[in-house]
């Protein structure tokens, strides 16, 4: 594994390796001195063409805990907003000696283009590209599920037979895509719940996923281990994907009544940031079943594991 561009192309072995290394990284994060010398002297560039404070600071914390130097390059207010091309930006970073590039881009495939180009030689980590993928989010979600299910006995375990329901704007969600591919690779069963307008075209026939329009019936039928709520963006209403927030919330929101209809041990997940009262109620978000804050904590461990595996130069390392 030279880059991390997607979960679609990740083998089960590679995925489990990342999850298991993340277990070691999580242990580091509980120490008094939360720091490893693994990437000392190396430079990680956070190249963000799209605002995302959460993801950026998560990668920043991960890199710093591995003793790397971090440069944050934000497109807003920089030469990029004045029309500089991806190529020129990449070559500039290469000339500055970047050892790893974490890229968030509004265009699907931009990390792929960077990795395939000869503009820069460093490992590329996709931190979310358009509506394509967000692989570290899926990895941290899988890590969170595994820990909730297996606790200290998580190492080496896949998610065989685990039932996951992903609800909301699947069409525009790179999180949903990355989760589907990774969870499938790990043996879980995934169901998407969304209005038909927000189901990706062709998913019903061509993707390894169950599709449902009815949240309540899906809860009754699948008794899921995991319910993952996706953020819904208000601009979707203007483009006629659904009539208004009230109707969306009624049909596809996780409100208190739906929360009560779940198994008491069903995990409630959300990648954040949440629209409380829209796709998820405060009661659901703050319940003991919610893993929202664990996901944030685990995000740092996963990103440490990814940066370590791609950049430490010791590719033979086994967890």
């Amino acid at each position: 594994m030279r880059h991390l561009l997607s979960t679609k192309t990740l083998s089960q072995g590679e995925a489990l390796q990342i999850l298991d290394v993340a277990e070691d990284m999580a242990a580091v994060s509980t120490r008094e001195v939360k720091k490893l010398p693994a990437l000392r002297g190396k430079t990680v560039v956070n190249l963000f063409f799209e605002d995302s404070t959460r993801t950026r600071i998560s990668f920043e914390a991960a890199a710093k805990r591995l003793s790397a130097d971090v440069i944050n390059f934000s497109a807003k207010g920089s030469s990029v907003s004045k029309g500089e091309s991806l190529k020129d930006t990449a070559q500039t970073l290469a000339a500055m000696g970047a050892d790893g590039v974490v890229i968030r881009h509004h265009a699907s495939g931009a990390p792929h283009v960077l990795a395939e180009s000869n503009w820069i030689d460093a490992p590329i980590v996709n931190a979310g590209d358009g509506t394509h993928e967000h692989p570290t989010q899926a990895l941290l979600d899988a890590f969170t599920i595994r820990r909730r299910l297996f606790g200290d006995r998580s190492r080496g375990r896949d998610l065989d037979g685990v039932s996951v329901v992903i609800v909301g704007d699947v069409m525009h969600s790179r999180v949903a895509r990355s989760n589907l591919w990774l969870l499938q690779t790990l043996g879980a069963h995934v169901t998407f719940v969304a209005p038909a307008t927000l189901v990706p075209f062709g998913a019903e026939t061509d993707w390894p996923v169950g599709i449902s329009y009815d949240f309540d019936q899906t809860i009754r039928d699948t008794r899921p281990d995991v319910v993952m709520m996706l953020r819904i963006q208000s601009e979707r209403m203007n483009a006629a994907f659904f009539p208004n927030a009230r109707e969306y919330s009624r049909e596809w929101g996780l409100d208190d009544a739906r929360l009560a209809s779940l198994r008491p041990d069903t995990i409630v997940m959300h990648p954040g940031p949440m629209n409380r009262g829209l796709e998820i109620s405060a009661g659901a978000a703050d319940s003991a079943q919610s893993t929202v804050l664990e996901q944030v904590t685990n995000g740092v461990s996963i990103r440490m594991a990814v940066l370590y595996l791609l950049m430490s130069g010791d590719r033979e390392v086994q967890p």
Binding site: K8, S85, L86, K87, H105, H106, A107, S108, G109, A110, H112, V113, E116, D129, G130, T131, H132, E133, M171, R174, R177, P200, F201, G202, A203, T205, D206, W207
Partner: protein, 452 residues
């Protein structure tokens, strides 16, 4: 000074018949092998053993980019690319800057083509002023200009207003012209990036549904039937479109249609690479669509192959997918791709290739003084093609200004060895003749026509 005479020895016509061809004073005459007379004695001999003689190819859909986008292509470089591909006539699309929507612009484009001499350049006129889709451009003025425009198109943009399209069909009929429609419902394809399907969903690229093309074609054929006008459909790309056109023809509607070489060979799977060389409008589609287009050409539903040669500078393709320009160059590779997709698969014979790449496009475009039959005294516009060779399609094969070809690095059959335009060579022994020589030959031809 007139151009020299040539004797083409041992060429194979599309009928399979072998003949020598005497090229003299911009006309050709088939002569029996080993004919020796005063005409043949003074002619430059060209060995055409194993070469197929095709009538000069005619491209009904080329973007020459001049005036306005000379960093991508000029009339000279684009028509040079045409010659390299065996073309002797190209119809230049109207999306220039300024737009080819006045007699002045179309006459300028034609004159640039005449001076360069690589091919006959017939400008296409814009249907609406500035391609804005709001009011008709001066179609009559362009039709009556020296450029004698007969094909009108807002290519790149769809004439989506139904009333405007109806009027355009009717008004263009007045001048024996044809509207060439770029069938793309703009609302269904806002910011669309690739064929809509499971793959576009996986790659996170905004989908370009087949129905956005098919619904416009369906409306247009009904409009054409209603007003009794000719309609030409540009770059048909989906199986559903082929079905609609087949149905329209069965009703007797006067519709013609083109397919591009790339839609006859390449599929959306190439987009997995996010390599913007594969970004094109309309987008590459599925295997089923490629098969339907090939079958459509074989049964005559699709009338012609047209390249949609769309040059772009390097920086327009060297970027993330969404930011890249749509289009690929296609003149130089058209014949090799047609051979791969249609001849080597047994769907078409060389006579059919002559029909879909020369005879029919000339008819649709009302190209004057065109012949595809190699009859005595026919205009000496033809190409000699070697179908038996096979080679890597590399940069050397491109003769235009831009290199955004999707075929670079692929092994393709065949090679254009000679192209003759108005009786003088533009390609000799697989090499494009230099521009100065061709311009001088063109000037000599023009002088001969005036005085002779």
């Amino acid at each position: 000074m007139s151009n020299p005479s040539y004797l083409i020895v041992g060429a194979t016509l599309v009928s399979g018949e072998r003949t020598d061809l005497l090229v003299q004073d911009a006309r050709l005459t088939p002569v029996a092998p080993n004919t020796s007379n005063s005409n043949t004695a003074g002619a430059i001999r060209i060995d055409a053993e194993g070469l197929v003689a095709l009538p000069g190819l005619v491209d009904l859909h080329t973007h020459l980019r001049e005036p306005g986008f000379e960093q991508s292509e000029t009339v000279l470089t684009g028509s040079r690319a045409a010659a390299a591909g065996g073309f002797t006539s190209v119809f230049a699309m109207a999306n220039t800057m300024p737009v080819s929507d006045t007699a002045g612009v179309v006459e300028q484009v034609m004159a640039l083509g005449d001076d360069a001499g690589f091919a006959t350049v017939r400008p296409i006129g814009a249907v609406t002023v500035g391609l804005a889709g709001e009011r008709l451009s001066e179609i009559g003025a362009m039709a009556h200009s020296r450029a004698q425009v007969r094909v009108f198109s807002d290519d790149g943009k769809c004439i989506h207003d139904s009333l405007l399209m109806r009027r355009a069909l009717e008004y263009v009929k007045t001048f024996d012209g044809v509207v060439a429609q770029h069938a793309q419902d703009p609302r269904l394809t806002e910011n669309a990036q690739m064929n809509e399907g499971a793959l576009s969903s996986e790659l996170g690229l905004k989908g370009w549904p087949a129905v956005a093309e098919e619904s416009i074609i369906a409306r247009d054929v009904l409009l054409a039937e209603h007003v009794g006008a000719r309609l030409h459909v540009c770059h048909v790309s989906t199986a559903g479109s082929v079905e609609v056109i087949r149905w329209a023809k069965s009703r007797g509607i006067v519709v013609t249609a083109e397919a591009t070489p790339h839609h006859l060979l390449l599929t959306e799977d190439l987009v997995r690479s996010y390599d913007a060389r594969y970004k094109v409008n309309p987008p590459l589609r599925r295997d089923e669509d490629v098969e339907a287009l090939r079958a459509g050409l074989a049964d005559g539903t699709i009338d012609i192959i047209a390249t949609d040669h769309a040059p772009h500078p390097t920086e327009s393709k060297e970027s993330e997918w969404d930011a890249a320009s749509f289009g690929m160059v296609g003149l130089e590779s058209a014949l090799s791709v047609a051979q791969t997709a249609l001849v080597d698969t047994g769907l078409l014979q060389w006579a059919d290739i002559a029909r879909v790449l020369s005879q029919k496009p000339a008819e649709i475009g009302r190209l004057a003084d065109h012949s595809h039959a190699f009859e005595p005294g026919a205009p000496a516009n033809f190409t000699l093609y070697d179908p038996s060779s096979s080679s890597t399609f590399d940069l050397d094969r491109l003769a235009g200004k831009s290199t955004n070809s999707p075929y670079l690095g692929l092994t393709l059959p065949g090679r254009v060895q000679y192209t003759f335009h108005h009786g003088y060579p533009t390609v000799l022994g697989g090499t494009v003749v230099d521009s100065t020589t061709v311009a001088a030959s063109a000037a000599a031809w023009k002088a001969g026509r005036t005085h002779g």
